[in-house]
């Protein structure tokens, strides 16, 4: 990628006068209106856009899941035919993983990493905007296949050669491969951006070991993305060259080995599952201490175990291939390596439990989701360990027992963490508290629904029901009342309860938006930096950049320990702290100006992708858009001129915008 942030000239002397370049001037900075979203480079706005888009895709993926469950509720289901069913589970997984959890993580990371490290924005704001648009266009592109002859139908790991042109003749797989390629670019740029932000832009005094755990975990995730995305990129390129340009990478007749795809996919795929879970680990490591009113137990252990998971996660991918015929030596090695990963994960579970221990627990909805995560994730993690035992995995793999495992870790882990984060941070992002009453319905229905849906899948799988079956027959369901037919039905009913539970979240959002109470400055009596500013934060995040002396800096400013009695006393509230920061506010805060080019550049990508599928000239047009975008990007002035700013940047705001 040839995108390079242009070094900014001294803010007072724009390198190129903007007025002379007409369209090339930076767009006027509007506080409101659609333009303020379309051209924004503000990490907070982008975070919200990531989140909203991700939640939309959650509903899409969830409805796909509900259709799957309806089809499987009864034997010989007739809701979907085989073809549609195969598209459904492929797109369900793709949507949930790539279009919901990953961007949802980007949403939180974008919004909160700069706040948690005490920065005013990310390192490369325009690249950040580009990442969002690339993700959005990639996601739309992926789903367009539904309307253009059928979506991808090879399962989310798209094993070769079943993904080849003969076996999957629709364009679904093409859309899938190229769509993921586009969202992959978004992930990669996001990773570079956030790592640089974390390493380079922390507030004075914030050493790495004083960073909030969410920032830590999100950073580990960015490293995983940084190194995992290129691997899937290679795989997807090979697939594309095979499908659209006559190469034979997975064509056995030409001598190819289908296991190559499996390796490439899972070298990416296993780190990917930690990409999905670690941010949620981070979130609940913030939530549990706040509502236990006590610091995270063993902070360094949580941090290092997170890093260790990220590290060891690279050495276990072949546990998805225990039945693929690797040979006993490889199987044994990967089996043992996989078990090793349970150790650092166990450290986390222990630390969370010990954080609760001896605390003063307040069961807000955020806290409930966090506590439920501990237990539900452990269930999923333990079934993971039973897969790690390779010989038993040959009984389990590709059965519903696996489906149970990954939904427990994904839904009970990643998604519960995300919901915990949403309840916790909602007042920060929108200035209003989500209703706890509706939130309780949300939580309990989701918790019950989730166990009813995925709990029985353990039984289904161990009793021999394979996954990815569009239909099941009573002949293999066993006898008695509690046979597989019964459990399938329970799972399907559970998924409806689950959907209703999720629906309550959206109701909550609507109700809150209409008539939610204004949130106090520090509603949870929180501990970390992102709370040391207004709700929602101002455009420049902090009036004055705090100097950090402690882990849990905010808490330490509010509370003091009486050394004699060991008693903890509140010495000042958030209001006082903020007032003081405002008094000492920084002069001349430079904020990046909005820009047209990220969205233009991103728009070129799906055009290229369309062209690769349908006609090369279109791809060339797309390429030209990209080149144009790069040029515009490179030569656009570094700062919007004062006259361009709407409302005119009054000197009193002391906010100057630049690149």
């Amino acid at each position: 990628m040839a995108i390079i942030e242009r070094p900014s000239a001294p803010a007072t002397v724009p390198a190129i006068p903007s007025a002379s370049l007409g369209a090339l001037k930076r767009p006027v900075t509007t506080q409101h209106g659609w333009r303020s979203w379309l051209f924004t480079v503000d990490h907070k706005k982008l975070g919200i856009m990531y989140g909203a888009t991700a939640l939309f895709f959650f509903v899409v993926g969830g409805l796909e899941a509900v259709l799957i469950r309806l089809q499987l509720a009864l034997p010989d289901g007739r809701v979907l035919n085989a073809d549609l069913y195969n598209q459904m589970f492929t797109m369900h997984a793709t949507t949930m993983v790539f279009l919901f959890v990953m961007p949802m993580v980007s949403a939180f990371a974008n919004y909160f990493i700069p706040l948690q490290v005490g920065a005013r924005d990310v390192a490369f704001p325009r690249i950040n905007a580009f990442g969002f648009w690339a993700f959005l266009f990639g996601g739309i592109f992926l789903n367009l296949a539904w309307f253009l002859g059928g979506a991808a139908d090879g399962g989310w790991f798209m094993y070769a050669p079943n993904s080849g042109p003969v076996f999957s003749p629709s364009h679904g797989v093409d859309f899938w491969a190229l769509g993921l390629q586009i969202t992959g670019i978004a992930s990669l740029t996001g990773a570079v951006n956030l790592i640089v932000t974390v390493l380079n832009m922390r507030a004075p005094g914030m050493s790495l070991m004083k960073m909030p755990v969410f920032t830590w975990m999100a950073t580990v995730v960015q490293f995983l993305l940084l190194f995992a995305m290129p691997v899937i990129t290679v795989a997807l390129f090979l697939l594309m060259f095979q499908r659209n340009f006559g190469a034979t990478f997975f064509d056995v007749a030409a001598g190819a080995d289908p296991l190559l795809w499996q390796h490439l996919f899972w070298i990416f795929g296993h780190p990917e599952v930690y990409i999905l879970i670690l941010p949620s680990f981070g979130i609940i490591s913030e939530v549990l201490p706040v509502f236990s009113r006590k610091p995270l137990f063993g902070y360094p252990f949580v941090v290092f175990s997170g890093a260790a998971i990220g590290f060891v996660g690279w050495g276990v991918w072949a546990h998805h291939m225990f039945a693929s015929g690797l040979g006993p030596v490889s199987v044994a090695v990967f089996s043992v390596a996989t078990m090793a990963i349970a150790v650092p994960t166990g450290v986390k579970v222990v630390n969370w439990t010990m954080t609760l221990w001896g605390g003063k627990l307040q069961f807000t909805v955020a806290m409930k989701f966090a506590i439920a995560l501990i237990v539900l994730f452990t269930v999923g993690g333990l079934s993971g360990v039973t897969h790690a035992v390779a010989p038993s995995d040959t009984q389990q793999t590709d059965t519903y027992y696996i489906v149970a495992h990954f939904h427990y870790v994904l839904f009970g882990g990643a998604i519960f963490g995300i919901f915990s984060g949403m309840y916790y941070w909602w007042p920060k992002m929108f200035g209003k508290l989500l209703s706890e009453r509706i939130g309780n319905w949300n939580f309990w229905l989701m918790a019950i629904g989730m166990n009813l849906t995925f709990g029985p899948m353990h039984i289904l799988g161990l009793q021999g029901q394979p996954r990815r079956m569009y239909i099941w027959t009573e002949a293999r369901a066993g006898e008695g009342f509690f046979n597989l037919a019964f459990w399938n039905l329970v799972a399907s009913i559970g998924s409806i309860i689950l959907a209703v539970g999720v629906l309550f979240f959206f109701i909550n959002v609507l109700v809150t938006a209409r008539r939610g109470a204004q949130a106090p400055l520090d509603p949870w009596d929180a501990r970390s930096l992102e709370w040391m500013t207004s709700n929602p934060p101002k455009e420049h995040n902090f009036d004055s950049i705090p100097t950090v002396g402690h882990l849990d800096e905010f808490f330490h400013r509010k509370y003091a320990e009486d050394h004699q009695s060991g008693e903890i006393r509140k010495v000042q509230g958030a209001e006082e702290i903020l007032a003081e920061m405002e008094r000492n506010k920084d002069a001349h805060i430079h904020m990046p100006s909005p820009s047209y080019w990220p969205i233009v550049l991103a728009l070129g990508l799906p055009v290229i992708a369309f062209g690769l599928i349908y006609s090369i000239p279109v791809a060339i047009v797309g390429g030209l858009i990209v080149v144009l975008g790069c040029f515009g990007w490179a030569i656009e002035p570094s700062t919007a001129r004062d006259e361009d700013v709407d409302p005119p940047a009054a000197p009193s705001t002391e906010v100057v915008r630049h690149g």
Binding site: E5, R120, V196, L226, F245, T248, I545, I589, G659
Partner: protein, 198 residues
């Protein structure tokens, strides 16, 4: 509070490390996995020639040696350009950048010639697994070089248009990093793909 003004864009962060440089190195680290994957694919498939020609039949080692040498030397000119830019010597910067770009173009031209020659010898893109993986690997590398050339020319234009060498020197250095990376990938490709016989 003066240092806080410098929080953004390509400036140096609180650690005194350049954002953009850090970003570039991260990107290059990531590229290792991209080229690693392509190289591994090639290594796995290089012997699978089907009906088509084998590597040893098509490779023209003397020719590729020369073009490898050209690319290697372009690294030298690139580093000279970076060093000139750091000294705010615009004339030399432009000179060395241009030479680098031309050397790169020579390399790409050589690759185009090589591909044509291979094609004429019966090695089409989809002739065999060896062919596909060879073309994809070297093609990806060639695209990287081409992008580098475009960036070099853009850089030349930038340096010539507004002579603010001080602030441009980092940009020159960044493109230099990218360029050298493309070169070291070729160092690996040259040995693993061309010199080691199948």
């Amino acid at each position: 509070m003066a240092e806080l003004v410098q929080e953004h864009g390509a400036q140096h962060g609180s650690t005194g490390i350049s954002n953009i440089k850090l970003g570039m190195w991260l990107f290059l680290g990531s590229e290792c996995l991209l080229f690693g994957g392509l190289i591994s694919t090639y290594m796995l498939y290089r012997g699978r020639v089907g009906e088509g020609p084998t590597p040893m039949q098509v490779f023209d080692i003397p020719f590729t040696s020369v073009s490898s040498f050209v690319l290697l030397m372009s690294s030298l000119t690139m580093v000279l350009a970076v060093s000139a830019a750091a000294k705010a010597d615009d004339r030399s910067t432009v000179l060395w950048l241009t030479v680098t770009a031309l050397l790169g173009a020579t390399f790409v031209g050589g690759q185009v010639y090589e591909f044509t020659a291979f094609y004429n010898e019966g090695l089409g893109f989809s002739t065999s697994l060896f062919a596909s993986s060879f073309y994809v690997l070297t093609g990806f590398h060639g695209v990287h070089v081409t992008v580098g050339i475009i960036m070099l020319f853009a850089l030349v234009a930038m340096v010539r248009r507004n002579r603010i060498p001080g602030s441009k020197s980092e940009t020159v250095e960044m493109i230099g990093l990218y360029w050298h990376f493309v070169d070291i990938v070729w160092i690996v490709i040259f040995t693993l793909i061309y010199l080691i016989p199948v």
